[in-house]
Symmetry: C2
Subunit: 544 residues, 2 copies
C-alpha cells in the first residue's frame, strides 16, 4: 500500500517563511491521512518564478534555514520539495533548480533539474545550471525517480517544438523506476491542459510506471498557474486530476485502481484564470478593493464581472464618467450591469473638465482640427479620476483594455491604460464575446445591449472601432498568426488570402504600439503569447 | 603591410537593408583607403540586440539575402561581419551568434560565438546555441583568429564575476594567431571602458598577438553602445582608440607603431551617453522634437540641457506649469535656464484646473485631509498637458525623473512619469549634481539657484524631498549596494553602520515602487544595473 499526497499549494514568491509554513502544514495533513509520500511543486519554497531575488545570498540562506525545519519535521514521510540551491561550484551559474528528497528526518539528497527552459516566459538559464545526474531513491521497496517539470517534456518535443540535446527521461528509464514524481510550475494558457496531459501520458508510457505530477497553483505577477496535478498509470492512462485554480490536498492511493475522469472546460478555465489572476494580485499585495471605469462597453462589463467574482461585489466600485460623446444607452446599460452584479456605481461626468482642458489649451491648438488629442484628453481625465479615487480611498484601478486593442494601439496611454492590473490585456476581442456568452449561459448578467452594440470608444460623435480598424475577426486572426505563431507576413497573406496592405498595416500597428504597451499595467497572461512577459521586441526597430 | 578598417557603425535594429548599405559603404571606404581587412561589430547586420525579431524566418532569410550582396562586393578585401545565422541542426537553439568571414568574393566560413551572456541585460541563450569550434583564417600570410565579444572575457572572469566552463581563448591560443579580431556589442555603463580596456589588454597578452576590437555604437531602446573600438599590441599595450559615441572609420596600420593615447573622461562619457540615448531614440523612430515640463528643479534643468544638445535648441519646447505651490524663484530660474539654452518656454498655469478637479472630487473626498492624492493630481494635470502638446503638435515628451526618485517611488505614475523616454531614469541624484557641475564647468548654463536649492516636488506648501526621504547620499548609497551589487540588507547595515530600520525602510520602498517603475517610460541605461532591462523583480513578492 502506498499513499501519496500531491500538495498543490499556492506559494507567495519570496515569502519563504510563509511557504515553509504551508509545506509543514501539508506534511501534517499527510501524516494525519496516513500518506507515505508528500510531493510539492517545483521551487515550492521560493515560489515560482523567484526572478532576481535569487541573486541575494540571504535569500538562499533563508531557504537553507527553512529546509532544515522541513527535514526535522519529516518523521514518517518521504518528502520531495522544490527549491533553488547553490551548486557549490565556481563555474557556471550559481544555482540548481532542485528538489530536496527527505525521509524520516534525514536529507537523502537532491534531484537537480536537467532541462532548463529559456523561451517564452522562461529564463531559467539566467539563474540555473543544468544537471544531467539522474537518480533513483528507494522508499518502502519502491524505486522512485524524479523529473522536474521541463525534464519530462523532451519526450514530446514534436508537440512543443523545443529540442534539447539530452533527454533525462531516457537516463531515468535505464534505472527502471516504479514511480516517477514530477514537481512542476507550469503557467496556464488557453487549452494548455490538453497539451499537458498528452505530455505526461507519454512520459508515463515511456517510463512504464505511474507518474504523479504535482503542480503549483496561484497567480504571480502576470502568470497564472492552474494546478491540475495528475496521476497517470503505467499505461499512460489518466487516473486522477486535482482541482484547477485552487489549492488542493490531492491524495493518491497507488494500489487502489479508481479512475476519476476529468473533462476539459476551456472557457471555465479561462474565466477562472482571470479571476485567480485578480484575486491573487490583490490578496498577495494586501489589497481588497478595486475600482474601474464602466463605459457601457463589453470590455469594462466583463472586467466588472471578473472583479466582482474575485473580490466580492462589495469590494468593487464602478465609475460612470460620461462626456458629450457618451450614448444614453451606454449609460443605462452600465446601470443595469451594476445592478445585476450588485456593485456600487458612481457617476462623475467629465464634460466640464474636458471643456476646461480645451479652453486651457486653445491658445496652442488654435486652428487645428479635433483629432486624437481631444479623444485622449477624455480618456486621461477618466484615468485621473480613477487614480484619485484609488489614491484617496485605497481602491486599486483595474484596466479594462483587451488584447486586440492593445495590439493595435487603440488605447490611450495614461488614459484607459491606467491601472494596477490589465485584466483583459491578453484576451482578444473575439474571446471577450465568448466569455460574455459564457457568463450569461444561465441568466443574463451582462445586458444584451452591451454585447450586441458595435464596439466604440465614444470619444467623438458616432465613433466606431471599425472606422479605424478592420473587423476584429481579421485583427484577431493576424494577432494569432503574427504574435502567437511568429508567422512571416507573406505567409499570413498567402495562407489566409488577405489583402497585402491590410496585413502589413496591422503588423505595423502592432510594432508601432510597442511603446504604449511597454508602459501598460501588467496583464494576466492567458494565451500562448501575451504582450507582457515572454515577448521581447524593441520599441526602436527598422524591420517592420 | 597590413591595414585594417574597424568599421564602428551605428546600425538600426532590424533595418537589415539599411545596415547592409552601411556595411557596403564602409567596404568601399576601406578599398579607397587601401585597407586589407574590414571588421564590423557583433550582429552588425541585424543590429544588437535584435530580440524576438530573431524568431521570424523571413528576418533570417533577409539577412541571408543581404549577406550574398556583401560577399559579391568584397573584392580585394577580407571582411568579418557579425550576423545571426541558422545552425541547421534540429537540436538546441536555432541560431548561432556568428561572424561571416569573407574574402575576395567568397564566403570562407563562419566563426560562431562560444560564450553567450545570459545575465544582466543579456539573454543570448534565449536565441543562440553556443559553438566551441575555434578556427584560424589565413590572409596575406597572417593567421587571423576571431573571438566574438564575451568570448574574450573568460580570461578576466575575476573582474566580471562570471565563470564559464570553457574558454575559447585557450583553444584559439593553441592555433597561434598572428592577429585576433573581436567584433563586439558592449553596452555602456559609467566607467565601463576602464574595465573593458583591462579585459582586452589581458586577452592580447594571453594570445601574444595584436587584438582589434570593433564595437557597435548607437542607442537601441534602453541600451547605449559607446563604441571606443581599440587596437592592442601583442604586449597588451593600448595603441589606438576610436571615438566614443559616434560612428567612426577607425583605420589601423598594423606595421606602423604609433600610440595614440586616450584618457578616460567618465563625466564626458556619461553626458555623451545620455545625449546619444536621446538622439538615437528620436532619429531612429523618425521624430525630431521634444517637450518637457520645467519645474525649476535640477532634474528637469539637466534634461533640458541634454535635449537641447541632442536635438538642437530649436526642437525643444519647455513648459512651465505652476500651481499654487510653485515658488516664484523656481519660475524665474526656469526662465533663465531656457534663455541660456535658447529653447522655447511656454507658460501654462494649472491652478484653475487643479481647483476644478478638487471641486469635482470633493463629494467623494469630503472630510478627508490633503494627501498624496492632491499632489498626484497636480503632477497628472501637468502630464496631461504635456501629452496633449505631444499629441497635437508632434513633440515627444521627455520624462525627467531621476534614478533615486524612481527607486523610492517618489514620482507620480501617469504624472511626471509620463513620456516616451526617461532621460535620467538611471542617473542617481548625486550623479545629477555632478553632471550639472560638469555642464557649468566653462560657463553657467544651469542657474546656480537651481543647483543650490533643496530638492522639492512643490506639490504642497514648503515641501522638501527630505521631509519624506533621508538625505540623497544615503538613498544613493543603499541604491548602489542593494540594487547594483545585490548586497543583503544586513550586510549593508553592518558595513555602513547605518540604522537597521532606515535601510530596511529604503529597501522596502524600492520593492514597493516596482509597480510604478514597470509602467514608467524606458530609461537610458548608464549604470551597471538600471531599473529597466537587466533587472527582473516581481511586483508581487513576500521577501521584502
Amino acid at each position: 500500500m502506498m499513499k501519496v499526497l500531491a500538495a498543490q499549494i499556492n506559494p507567495i514568491v519570496g515569502n519563504i517563511d510563509g511557504n515553509t509554513a504551508k509545506i509543514l502544514h501539508m506534511m501534517d495533513r499527510a501524516r494525519l491521512q496516513k500518506a507515505d509520500i508528500v510531493v510539492f511543486p517545483e521551487l515550492a519554497m521560493s515560489g515560482y518564478p523567484p526572478e532576481d531575488l535569487l541573486f541575494f545570498s540571504d535569500f538562499l540562506d533563508e531557504i537553507e534555514k527553512n529546509l532544515k525545519k522541513i527535514i526535522e519535521k519529516s518523521q514518517g514521510l518521504f518528502v520531495v520539495v522544490g527549491l533553488p540551491r547553490r551548486t557549490g561550484k565556481k563555474e557556471g551559474k550559481a544555482l540548481f533548480n532542485s528538489a530536496a528528497v527527505i525521509s524520516d528526518g534525514k536529507l537523502l539528497g537532491y534531484k537537480d533539474k536537467t532541462l532548463l527552459p529559456d523561451y517564452d516566459v522562461f529564463n531559467e538559464l539566467r539563474y540555473f545550471e543544468p544537471s544531467d545526474d539522474q537518480k533513483i531513491w528507494v522508499y518502502k521497496n519502491k524505486k522512485i525517480g524524479i523529473l522536474i517539470c521541463e525534464d519530462a517534456w523532451e519526450q514530446s518535443s514534436e508537440i512543443t517544438g523545443v529540442n534539447y540535446a539530452v533527454d533525462p527521461a531516457i537516463e531515468l528509464k535505464k534505472l527502471s523506476p516504479d514511480l516517477c514524481i514530477i514537481p512542476a510550475a507550469s503557467p496556464y494558457y488557453y487549452k494548455k491542459n490538453e497539451l499537458r496531459k498528452s505530455v505526461y501520458q507519454k512520459i508515463a508510457k515511456f517510463l512504464n510506471c505511474p507518474v504523479i505530477l504535482c503542480s503549483q497553483i496561484g497567480a504571480n505577477d502576470q502568470l497564472v498557474f492552474d494546478g491540475y496535478s495528475m496521476l497517470f498509470d503505467a499505461n499512460g492512462a489518466l487516473k486522477q486530476v486535482a482541482k484547477g485554480f485552487v489549492e488542493d490536498e490531492f491524495f493518491i492511493d497507488l494500489d487502489n485502481d479508481v479512475t476519476i475522469p476529468a473533462k476539459d472546460e476551456p472557457l471555465d478555465d479561462l474565466y477562472n484564470a482571470l479571476v485567480l489572476g485578480v484575486k491573487d494580485y490583490f490578496f498577495k499585495l494586501g489589497f481588497s478593493k478595486a475600482c474601474l471605469g464602466l463605459s457601457g462597453g463589453i470590455d469594462s462589463a466583463l472586467t466588472a464581472c471578473i472583479a466582482a467574482d474575485a473580490l466580492g461585489p462589495q469590494n468593487v466600485k464602478a465609475l460612470r464618467m460620461p462626456s458629450r460623446f457618451s450614448s444614453i444607452e451606454g449609460i443605462e446599460d452600465a446601470q443595469q450591469l451594476t445592478d445585476n452584479l450588485r456593485i456600487e456605481l458612481l457617476d462623475i461626468p467629465i464634460d466640464s473638465m474636458f471643456q476646461h482642458f480645451l479652453d486651457l489649451l486653445s491658445p496652442y491648438f488654435y486652428g487645428r482640427p479635433f483629432d486624437t488629442t481631444e479623444e485622449n484628453l477624455q480618456a486621461r481625465i477618466r484615468g485621473m479620476i480613477l487614480m484619485a479615487i484609488s489614491n484617496k480611498l485605497g481602491y486599486v484601478v483595474l484596466s479594462t483594455g483587451n488584447k486586440s486593442e492593445m495590439a493595435m494601439g487603440y488605447v490611450t496611454l495614461y488614459g484607459d491604460m491606467c491601472g494596477g492590473l490589465g485584466v483583459l490585456a491578453d484576451v482578444s476581442k473575439n474571446m471577450i464575446y465568448k466569455l460574455a456568452g459564457w457568463i450569461n449561459r444561465k441568466k443574463e448578467i451582462i445586458p444584451q445591449n452591451i454585447i450586441k452594440k458595435a464596439p466604440s470608444a465614444e470619444l467623438k460623435y458616432n465613433q466606431k472601432d471599425q472606422d479605424f480598424l478592420p473587423p476584429y475577426e481579421i485583427v484577431d486572426l493576424v494577432l494569432e498568426q503574427y504574435v502567437e505563431n511568429h508567422k512571416p507576413i507573406e505567409q499570413i497573406i498567402r495562407e489566409n488570402k488577405l489583402p497585402k496592405d491590410l496585413v502589413r498595416d496591422l503588423v505595423e500597428r502592432i510594432h508601432l504600439a510597442e511603446y504604449k504597451r511597454r508602459q501598460g499595467p501588467p496583464g494576466i497572461r492567458v494565451t500562448r503569447k501575451g504582450f507582457g512577459v515572454g515577448r521581447i521586441f524593441p520599441i526602436v526597430q527598422g524591420w517592420v
